[in-house]
């Protein structure tokens, strides 16, 4: 009989845990509340099924537990019941799938007015590249990566000269403007993930992946890497700051372009080339980033 009690307790406890526990998603900061809504639908449907199945099971165990002289009923199958259950299940599954697919088609269709920005990952830090005045990002290639050109921007491409580079520092974005995030890695798989934005996508060395979102509130958000990328994986944090338009332009004005950074007199001063130095100072790099995000 203990098992009946425990089965009921599991249902009640799980539902109460779901409703009362303090562990829930972070307040959203992007347009992907559609995704949150789809999760809510999923919770309702699956929650009802879970409670129904387990409670029914508890009832069966209670009602039909062995007592002296009992004998089980003989019922090989029941076509009608099985068909009904199948139809109801198919209906429930459709109710989960259809909204999901609608939101997914939105997710993969990038709006025309989205600004392309680029995130470049490497073991174990984030860099960013924004299009310059021409609004276009220059091409890039992992083979072009050198100490002076850590992001591998093609040196000959005229589109790339005015690109704004943000190396191993915070990225700022204007609030309310859709952004198409182009994702690139120069070593292993990484994944650009900000819990508050809900969206994420792997970055694959050798190709460029993407997703899009619109930041809906200002604030400072922590970037996490969500694809195992070696032993520094848990320390691969970054910061994205969502600004008002004004603050954003002010920040943008202070950034340097690819042409400026690759000019000979500048090299070796402000920006340390990534690679061995930063990698060996991994702890330091991560800490400094954290202290910045704390401020």
């Amino acid at each position: 009989m203990a098992v009946v009690l425990v089965l009921v307790l599991i249902v009640v406890g799980s539902v109460l845990f779901h409703l009362l526990s303090p562990w829930w998603w972070t307040p959203i900061a992007s347009n992907w509340d559609y995704i949150d809504n789809t999760i809510i639908i999923s919770f309702w449907i699956t929650g009802i099924v879970f409670a129904a199945v387990v409670l029914f099971m508890a009832y069966c165990v209670f009602r039909f537990r062995h007592r002296e002289g009992n004998r089980a009923a003989y019922e090989p199958e029941n076509k009608r019941l099985e068909s009904w259950l199948m139809i109801v299940t198919a209906f429930g599954v459709t109710a989960l799938l259809v909204p999901g697919l609608f939101v997914w088609s939105r997710f993969v269709t990038v709006p025309g007015d989205a600004t392309a920005i680029e995130v470049v990952a490497q073991q174990w830090q984030w860099s960013f590249r924004l299009p310059g005045k021409d609004g276009k990002l220059g091409t890039s290639d992992t083979r072009d990566v050198t100490a002076d050109n850590p992001l591998g921007v093609a040196p000959k491409d005229p589109n790339g000269q005015d690109d704004v580079l943000v190396q191993a520092a915070d990225l700022h974005l204007p609030v309310g403007k859709p952004v198409k995030v182009l994702l690139r890695s120069i070593d292993v798989l990484h994944d650009f993930y900000i819990p508050e934005f809900r969206a994420k996508m792997d970055m694959i060395p050798g190709s460029v992946t993407y997703f899009w979102f619109t930041p809906t509130r200002t604030g400072t958000f922590q970037v996490l890497c969500a694809e195992l990328c070696g032993q520094g994986h848990p320390l691969m944090h970054g910061v994205v700051v969502v600004d008002t338009e004004q603050d954003y332009l002010a920040w943008l004005g202070q950034q340097q372009t690819f042409a400026q950074l690759s000019a000979p007199q500048q090299s070796g001063s402000a920006n340390q080339p990534p690679g061995k130095i930063i990698a060996s100072n991994l702890g330091v790099a991560a800490n400094s980033k954290l202290s910045r995000s704390a401020q």
Partner: protein, 589 residues
């Protein structure tokens, strides 16, 4: 009665009569044995031993996650080595080997009424190659640089680069070699399981009279035979990338400021191959569990399994569908996003036959005569955890919901619930159920109940709350969950709680092991058919069955495996090999 089999077509299982009864030396009887039952015990013992290693590894990682910074010896490198070996051992070397190599070897010949597997020599080789694979795997703990820390998915480029533990040392090489060996060994065993079901069945054992255990193991083996080659291909190609510098999976890479020699390869290609194996693998573990749990429920509820035909069709449907859902593991991998529509649809379709199986288990309980024996308790616990884990699978299969949840603790909680806890609960139930047949003695009841309650409630308390960490956005595979803005103080406490539960559940397994060993000598005598079950393995003349299983004459099967509580019959079960009809009218009114 026409004998259609030509002279040379007599299956070796029957030819072996002379061979079976010649005197055996100790070595050929217990070590290099060709008896499927001995091989089954060897498989099970080896899998359990290596599974214990994986259990200890899980403790170590929970130490780190629950109490960060307290245990200095768990460096990030070590942590990644722990999770990798834990995952790989549990999925391949424990679950696959135990279900197919252990239960498959023991139950298939007995349940279909064969004297042995059809190719006993190949069967023996299969075990020894498996053992070799395990030894190679274990040797990586002692190799320079330690085992690989690439995660059980072994994604390149990271898996074979120096930023990953074992990536440029021996770890990854030994891991890949061990997998290749495992697959070779498994293929040998798998051929046996499939062909024995096809050809070794005794007279009257039509496919629709097979117990669902055999259906589950049979279908899973067919799937494994077709899916493991994908892992084999992936392993061989990665091994070449790592050792000989080819570029199957390795694109142009700058590692720590240095350009590597590789060029142009595709990491996504590896992921396709890996998951082409990896998803069927989930069902390779699940289907035997489905089959076994059906038999446990039916036997201990004294009622035929509800909707047997639907159960068989569902097993076949799940097996077939599971080959066209693999890319749901890759929604955020950067593959063509339009694949998402297709794979989300196939993935959710597979939920329908799976749900039917759940309904039929529960409906078998309805109007049953439920004996709350330990196997039955484990079966009930399986249903709870499987339903829970299966339903969260609907979240992750639904492509857009997967976007925020993938690579978080939600995924970890989901797959532990559905293919960790649930199948292991079935394994426990099955061991309590068949231990009397293997040893002739019952497992101790009190220890068993203690083991059940701690394992079931503990495992639920570990993995149910873990979903909510994932919902918060806590990523998986983080050696340190410090310095994260989303990690609240209460979430840290939750993590410590999960760790403590993990130690308690792990401890209960020690009790179980003690019970296993102690009961061999001191358990209650079981008799031939302690559960009063219908299937053939309980009808053997000796318990434990001898080499050859059925004595002089093979049983002849007259009925399906689920004649429990037939109206009009005197007993509440009729074994499959009992002739005669006890119930004139069997169609329910």
């Amino acid at each position: 009665m026409v004998d259609v089999t030509p002279a040379d077509a007599v299956p070796p299982a029957e030819v072996g009569e002379v061979e079976l009864y010649h005197p055996h030396s100790w070595w050929t009887k217990y070590v290099f044995s060709q008896d499927a039952k001995v091989i089954a015990v060897q498989y099970s013992a080896t899998a359990t031993a290596i599974g214990l290693v994986a259990l200890v590894l899980s403790w170590l990682m929970r130490l780190q996650l629950g109490f960060p910074g307290t245990f200095d010896f768990i460096t990030p490198e070590a942590y990644y080595q722990f999770i990798t070996m834990h995952g790989m051992i549990m999925v391949i070397y424990l679950l696959t080997a135990l279900f197919l190599g252990g239960f498959g070897n023991y139950l298939i010949p007995l349940m279909v009424g064969a004297r042995d597997m059809v190719f006993p020599y190949v069967n023996m080789l299969s075990y020894w190659i498996y053992l070799l694979a395990v030894l190679v795997l274990v040797s990586s703990f002692f190799a320079p640089g330690g085992p690989t820390g690439a995660g059980w998915t072994l994604y390149p480029p990271q898996a074979i680069m120096s930023g990953t533990p074992g990536g440029q040392d021996w770890g990854i090489i030994l891991m890949l070699s061990s997998l290749i060996l495992f697959i070779v060994g498994f293929t040998m065993g798998g051929l046996n399981y499939v062909v024995t079901v096809l050809q070794g069945r005794t007279r009257g054992m039509t496919l629709m009279r097979l117990p669902l255990t055999v259906w589950g193991i049979f279908t899973a083996t067919v799937m494994a035979l077709l899916a493991f080659p994908a892992l084999f291909v992936a392993c061989v190609m990665m091994l070449l990338d790592r050792v000989l510098g080819t570029s199957f999976f390795m694109p142009a890479i700058v590692e720590m400021g240095e350009q590597l020699q590789h060029n142009g390869g595709s990491p996504i290609l590896f992921q396709h191959l890996f998951w082409f194996f990896g998803h069927p693998e989930v069902y390779i573990v699940a289907l035997p569990a489905f089959g076994i749990v059906s038999d446990l429920i039916s036997t201990h509820a004294r009622k035929n399994i509800f909707g047997y035909r639907m159960m068989v069709w569902a097993i076949i449907a799940i097996g077939a569908l599971s080959f066209v859902v693999w890319a749901h593991h890759m929604y955020v991998s950067g593959m063509n996003p339009y694949f998402g529509f297709f794979f989300a649809t196939t993935t959710l379709i597979i939920a329908v036959p799976t749900a039917i199986k759940v309904y039929n288990w529960v409906l078998t309980l309805w109007r049953g005569d439920i004996h709350l024996t330990i196997p039955m308790l484990f079966a009930l616990a399986f249903i709870v955890t499987f339903v829970n884990g299966g339903l969260t699978g609907l979240f992750l299969g639904n492509v857009v919901v997967d976007v925020p949840l993938s690579d978080t603790m939600f995924v970890v909680a989901h797959f532990h619930m559905v293919m960790g806890v649930a199948p292991i609960l079935v394994i426990f139930g099955a061991i309590y159920h068949w231990y009397p047949k293997v040893t002739g003695r019952m497992l101790d009841e009190t220890l068993g109940r203690f083991h059940f309650w701690v394992t079931f409630v503990g495992a639920y308390l570990i993995f149910f709350p873990m979903h909510y960490l994932g919902l918060m956005g806590v990523p998986r595979r983080y050696a340190e969950l410090t310095d994260m803005t989303i990690m609240t103080e209460s979430a840290r406490h939750l993590n410590s709680f999960i760790s403590i539960m993990a130690f308690i559940v792990g401890f209960a397994q020690m009790v179980f092991l003690f019970n296993l060993i102690w009961s061999i000598r001191h358990g209650r005598e079981a008799g031939g058919n302690p559960w009063r079950a219908t299937t053939l393995e309980w009808q053997t003349p000796q318990t434990p069955p001898e080499h050859g299983n059925f004595g002089k004459e093979l049983p002849i099967v007259y009925r399906w495996a689920y004649d429990y509580s037939v109206p009009g019959a005197k007993e509440d079960f009729i074994p499959q090999n009992v002739p005669g009809d006890f119930a004139p009218s069997r169609e329910p009114a």
